[in-house]
Structure formats: structure tokens, C-alpha cells
């Protein structure tokens, strides 16, 4: 591994000129720059990471804390990790993984030893222990998700409330007066921050619109086919003419299986809309209208905010909600008149 001295020598300039040529923080004559670039290429030079951390004020590393509970939905989680890593790399940042059972110990450690410039928090629980830590440490911290107590924190998330309300509005506008929410696992409503938000918003907006709304879960810890079918059956039996799906991939499939086994067609007999799905709903056997959760949107913004905290004008603390987007796929129609008449 060549160092800056060798590059300087090879290019016949001083090391400061090499440094400036590479950082662009000072103008460098065109042909000087060329000689330096040639030397860099030739020697395969890459500035030593440790030395940059020490001399500069940046480590070019973000920590990503993720508790990785047994019940986390792995595919969604992976999508967020990937989106974060990609966003970070776009700004020349690397991601350090903090997956300790004690994600907290990791946070304290990297905050204390200056390994990272900022910390990104994934998989946020309503009563997340990392909230308190974030307030104590000096390292800027950005939450991807919204804890209950978020005072003074920087948080980013999809506007799940708006997404859920939008879904209800679409169904109400189509004439539905009784809907069901096929929700997440029971654990998710306790351990995760957004399922309760969706549920509350669906119920609240339904009430506003004079729509009867019921809901059910899709498993205790892991999304499970049987539970999803049972919940679907229950909601249908209770008279729902439309379903809001806020559940895992497999649960979507299970809902469709239950409908199909009852001979119910989408959207003629039953309307569907998926809310907050982070997977590709178009891979399902039936096209479903969707107001998706787009990890890239949240993660890009989170990284952007993390970078801003390092600059001169730090961003205001507060919650940034990402406006939901709606993709119509023809899975919503008016309720069958016979059904409608039945109520």
C-alpha cells in the first residue's frame, strides 16, 4: 500500500499538493493534477483510512444499529439495510453493523471511540432503549422509524397514518361500508413502531367516514399462513367487502388463497388494497392496489440528514414523514350490490 509520500515523490510535488489535488479543496494546476493522478493510478494509491480519521474530522463511516430480533421480517429488514448501504456509498460512506444483542453497547462504543460520524437506527421499537442513548451521546443519530418518545430526535419514516387513511378513503369512495384490516403479527404491534400507527389510522379514518372496520393479525411471532387465512375468513364472515392488507408477503398470498377457495373474485366480489408493503406486490398471482413502503425513500433521506448533521447548519430535530404514493392495479371496485343491500 503506497502512501501519500510516494505519490508526491512520483509526481514531483509536495504531499500537501497531493492531498489537495485529491480532495479538491484547493485549486491545483491542470498538469500538476494530471501528474498526480497518473502517480495515484500507477501506485494504486488510496488514502489510509486511519490516518484520515485521525487528521481529518470525518471517518466516512456510519453505524447502523439493528437489534435483529428473532421475529424481525428478514426480507424487509434486508431491504432497509441494503437501501441504507447504497445511499451511504453514494456519499462515500461505509456502513458499520451494530447487531449486538446490546445494540446499545455498540452505540456507546462507537460514539466514544469516534469510529463513526453518525448513527442510523433501524427496527425502531415504540419504547426503544436507543432513544435514551441517542440523547446522551455526542454522535448524531437518525432514527428510521418513530419511537413513541421522539422529542428532540431526528426521525424519518413513511407517513403510515396518511397511507392508511388514504387506503380507507379509496375504499370508502368506492362505496364500501364495511372493511377489514389484515394486520401484522401480534408481536409486531408491541415490538415495532409502525403497525400500531397503521391500525389506529385505519380505525380512525373508518370512523370518520362512517365505515365499519375490523382487524385481525396474521400470526403470533411469525407471519403464518393459517393465521392469515383464518383472519381473512373472520373478516369476510363479519361482512367486510374490502380488505386493507398490512402484512407480510406470505400473508398476502394466504389472503388470496382464502378468497380463491371461497370463489371470490378481485375486485368484483371483494376489493383489496395493500398498505406498507416493502416487497414486490406485482409478483403475487393477483394485482393489488398498493401504497407501498419504499425503503429507499426513508433510507436516502436518513442518510441525507445524517450528512447534514455533520455540516454547518444542522437539521432541526423532528419527525420527517414521507408522503405515501399510490399505485392503482384495479383491485378496488364498488361492493356488489347484493352485498351492499345486505347491510
Amino acid at each position: 500500500m503506497a502512501n501519500i509520500n510516494e505519490v508526491a515523490e512520483a509526481a514531483g510535488v509536495s504531499i500537501s499538493t497531493v492531498s489537495y489535488a485529491l480532495s479538491g479543496k484547493r485549486p491545483v494546476a491542470a498538469d500538476t493534477r494530471r501528474r498526480i493522478e497518473a502517480a495515484v493510478r500507477e501506485l494504486g494509491y488510496s488514502p489510509n483510512a486511519g490516518a484520515r480519521m485521525l487528521a481529518g474530522s470525518r471517518t466516512q463511516i456510519f453505524a447502523l444499529t439493528e437489534p435483529l430480533r428473532k421475529d424481525t421480517h428478514a426480507p424487509t429488514h434486508m431491504a432497509f439495510v441494503l437501501a441504507t448501504a447504497v445511499a451511504a456509498r453514494r456519499h462515500d460512506y461505509d456502513i458499520l453493523l451494530l447487531t449486538d444483542e446490546q445494540a446499545q453497547a455498540g452505540m456507546s462504543r462507537v460514539a466514544a471511540n469516534g469510529l463513526v460520524d453518525a448513527i442510523l437506527v433501524l427496527d425502531v421499537a415504540p419504547d426503544d432503549a436507543r432513544v435514551g442513548l441517542a440523547r446522551q451521546i455526542a454522535t448524531p443519530t437518525v432514527f428510521i422509524g418513530i419511537p413513541d418518545d421522539n422529542d428532540g430526535l431526528i426521525c424519518v419514516d413513511l407517513d403510515f397514518e396518511a397511507a392508511a387513511a388514504w387506503a380507507v378513503d379509496l375504499l370508502a369512495d368506492a362505496g364500501h361500508t364495511s372493511i377489514g384490516l389484515v394486520g401484522q403479527t401480534e408481536t409486531a404491534y408491541v415490538k415495532s413502531n409502525f403497525p400500531p400507527r397503521v391500525r389506529a389510522s385505519v380505525l380512525a379514518r373508518s370512523a370518520d367516514r362512517g365505515v365499519a372496520a375490523a382487524y385481525g393479525t396474521t400470526g403470533s411471532k411469525h407471519a403464518n399462513r393459517q393465521a392469515a387465512r383464518r383472519t381473512t375468513a373472520d373478516l369476510l364472515d363479519a361482512g367486510a367487502t374490502a380488505l386493507v392488507l398490512h402484512c407480510a408477503d406470505e400473508a398476502h398470498a394466504a389472503v388470496l388463497a382464502e378468497l380463491s377457495s371461497r370463489g371470490l373474485r378481485v375486485p368484483e366480489d371483494i376489493s383489496l388494497i395493500s398498505v406498507g408493503a416493502s416487497f414486490d406486490t406485482s409478483a403475487l398471482p393477483v394485482r393489488i392496489d398498493s401504497i407501498p413502503l419504499i425503503p429507499e425513500a426513508s433510507c436516502d433521506l436518513a442518510v441525507e440528514l445524517a450528512l447534514q448533521t455533520l455540516g454547518t447548519d444542522a437539521p432541526e430535530p423532528g419527525v420527517r414523514l414521507i408522503a405515501p404514493t399510490y399505485s392503482a392495479q384495479g383491485s378496488i371496485a364498488s361492493p356488489r350490490s347484493s352485498e351492499a343491500a345486505a347491510h
Copy 2:
């Protein structure tokens, strides 16, 4: 963030004594050590990561490269990442995530700038491009998985061949003469290194034992319920009295569903054994004998080897195979005599 000078001053010693007291690389008088430790605690001191990298010869960071293809099985993948992180932390190492589409660019980068002490390679393809890179760079690299061309590399993996052969032996010993392999997705046989190894070993050992063996896949890119059931049906129709399952969680469930819909009991009517499962097979509705893939075993060893490459006696290049373990759950029995007679 306090630095070593402040600690030294507070403890009334020189900075070298502080350094040695913390690293333990030189004996320090008991009460001197106590004063230093008190100062450290009081000031919340933690040695600056950048400075340690620069001055010392270790960064205390391992890179973990993972392509994260769309078709990776997320839960398995997460288990490996977690196991690696935990193993690394046990040795005071952090994990830097390299998930670029160009995991290769990342490898070159961290090798060039000295950010990490070693690189761990996950999700190894038979013709993995990272093999060539690993040979070029100076940073020690450990593969968790076995590429076709592994000459001179350090590789760690479950002995899938032995696991598959063991499974066949168990079935053959029980008297089965016709078995089926419910395999992975079609993509997995191309993009991943171990599915072909399992398949080849099942077929080879079956031939050795005079057992007829057929196999099928469980989806094209993603494990899929329909494909799994169809494959199961095909294998049963072809006369298999026992199935070797080397497939995803959901596919296991789908196999059981197909058996159940045919009224086949395990093990009375059909014997089952799962090979290379990284999930908890005991969560399935039916207990299944298992020769599991234990991420912790591979990752612990990989980390161990990575550490050794940094020491004085570097480990020999070569493939380290982890001996499989077998957990009997009563899902294997002799084939029904009527069935046996039918052949």
C-alpha cells in the same frame, strides 16, 4: 471525548503507562492501574479508533461482503450476518458491511485503504468473482462457502456432501429403495455453491446404496409454495417412499401440506429428513429429522481463521469442512410393506 493525555494527567502517569495499562502489553503496578482505571471511568475515555488504526497494526474491523441478490433467502442470510457479527464482537472486532452491487469495488477499496484487517465473504457463488480479487489483494480473506475454484483460498463450510450422504444412508438403512430430493430454487443451483453439492452427493450416495433417487426444485427464483407442492407430488407419484428436504422454510411447510392433503402420515407412510436447514425445523407442524446448517459453526470458525491470518502463524490455505450433526425426531421409518412390495 477525552483523550489519552487527559487520562494520563488525571492519573498522574505518562501516556505510555496508560496505553500499557489498557492493552496489558506491559505489567503495571496494581495501584497505578487502579488510578488509571478510575480516570478512564471518570472521563469516559475510549481510545480513538482512528489513532489506533494509524499507530497500531490493527483496525479491529472485518469487512463482510455480501452481494445481496434479489433471490437470496433473507432469513438464512440474516442468520449468517448475525452469527458473524456476534463472533467478531467476541474478539473485539466490528463488521463493516460491503453490500455494493459491486461488492468487488468495496473489497478493493477497503483492502487499499487499510480500513479492515480481514475480509469475510458470504453468499459465495460457484464462479464467484471475489475469488480472483481475494488472490490479488493483500488483505486476508476467508470464504464462508466454497467456490468451484478455491485453490489457495481459505474456505469454511458445512460438509454438505457428508450431510447429504448421511441423510441417504439413514433412509437406505431404514430400507427405502426409492427416495426424492426436494431441492432449492433453480437459481440457487446456479448462483450458490452448496445446492449443487447436496444434490450431487444425494445422487451419488443413492447410486452407491442401490437406491433410486429423483429430485425437483421449489421455484425458479424464490421458493414458492406451488412449486414445492408440485415437486413433492411428482416425487411421490414417481414412487418415492422418503424425501430429503433441502429447501426453504416455506417449502418444508408446503411439502407437509401436500403430504397431509394426500393423507400420508410421517413416518408411517413416508419418511422425511431435512438437510442443511438454517431455520428452526422444530417450529414446523411435524417433527422432522434434521442435519442442519448451523451458521454459528461456520461463522465462528471463519472469524477464528481471520484472526489467525493476522497472527504469526498464518493458517494453511484450504477448505475446512464442518462435520454435520444429526438430530433424530422420529420422521424416518421403514417403508410401508405394501409400497415396498410394489417395487
